[in-house]
């Protein structure tokens, strides 16, 4: 299914869950925060939350900041 991930088009395979997306992109789950269509999705729900066509996904990590 077609998604926009961090502003870029992405074709998601697998079972279409958030977990699947993270695995595909090789993100470290414990270091990642995630938002779908502007709503934060807690990590406990990633395994069970299905993504839908055209979802906007933001995957975020901590970096240096003041």
């Amino acid at each position: 299914m077609k998604l926009t991930v961090n502003g870029t088009a992405h074709e998601l395979g697998g079972d279409g869950t958030i977990d699947a997306l993270l695995d595909e992109l090789g993100a470290t789950k414990a270091h990642t925060a995630l938002m779908v269509n502007g709503n934060v999705v807690p990590s406990e729900q990633w395994a069970t939350t299905p993504l839908n066509e055209n979802d906007e996904v933001e995957m975020l990590v901590f970096v240096g900041g003041g």
Partner: protein
């Protein structure tokens, strides 16, 4: 050592949280993660800010989650940098909490990249919501005494007025307003942004501020680790001086030595 002993007893409370150091550190702008970690250690800070950025597999080394989680006795305060308005700031705060599991949030909303100065209207609106959602909200604000008081009234855990624009190193350019904020505040006042030198951090503490947040001054120093130690000493010096009670100033000179005239002899 006398002053270290003093410091140990002088705990800073923000909401229900206790901190042993009155120096907060930003983690941006360091030449390397190791340089940042070394500076954090040398500074003795117990609270560091972090920002959120889109995951990028190619820049995995920028991910600070791992390195920071290994630091003992250091808590995280995610910031909301990048937020242009209240709605975006609230989103950033929620994301930051997901990752940090920390109650602290540095609320910063600065729409203009040229000066990065905070928006009082959006910040006020976001603060109200984030307090409702259980955060310990530390807003980065202009040195505006009425705004600071209103943010206290809506439940912020502290206020963080700026000394000067982020990264300019212009120090306590807003000192007169910060003094008024300190005089009226019932919550901690933290000077954030603009400090360049430990003497400025010491001065903020002498004015009665409860802590300072420093990033550029340490990250951009020739030797960040040594500068972290310097700021640690500066903050402690200023805090001790505030507690010790500074002498008043005087318009006329006051001798510190006797001015007896035994030196002139009748034969001169």
């Amino acid at each position: 050592m006398n002053e270290v002993y003093t410091m140990n007893e002088d705990v800073l409370k923000i909401g229900d949280q206790k901190l042993g150091s009155r120096l907060f550190l930003g983690t941006g702008k360091f030449s390397s993660t190791q340089a940042m970690i070394d500076a954090v250690k040398a500074s003795g800070t117990e609270l560091v800010t972090v920002a959120l950025r889109r995951f990028n597999r190619a820049q995995a080394e920028d991910d600070l989650y791992g390195p920071l989680s290994q630091l003992k006795n250091v808590r995280l305060m995610p910031n909301t940098s990048g937020a242009m308005n209240a709605k975006e700031a609230i989103r950033a705060a929620l994301l930051g909490r997901e990752l940090s599991k920390s109650p602290f949030v540095k609320l910063e909303i600065h729409p203009n990249p040229h000066h990065l100065l905070p928006d009082p209207i959006e910040t006020y609106e976001a603060a109200i919501e984030l307090v409702k959602q259980g955060f310990l909200v530390l807003p980065y604000i202009p040195a505006d005494p009425v705004l600071a008081k209103r943010l206290e009234d809506v439940g912020c855990a502290a206020v963080m007025p700026l000394g000067a624009a982020i990264g300019t190193g212009k120090g306590l350019s807003t000192a007169e307003m910060i003094k008024i904020i300190v005089r009226d505040a019932n919550i901690p006042v933290v000077v954030d942004a603009g400090l360049r030198a430990p003497s400025e951090a010491a001065c903020a503490m002498e004015m009665g501020c409860d802590a300072v947040l420093v990033n550029s001054a340490i990250a951009a120093a020739d030797n960040p680790s040594a500068m972290g130690a310097a700021f640690k000493a500066g903050v402690e010096a200023g805090r001790m001086a505030y507690q010790a009670g500074l002498m008043p100033t005087s318009e006329v000179a006051v001798a510190s030595s006797p001015l007896t005239s035994f030196l002139a002899t009748q034969t001169d």
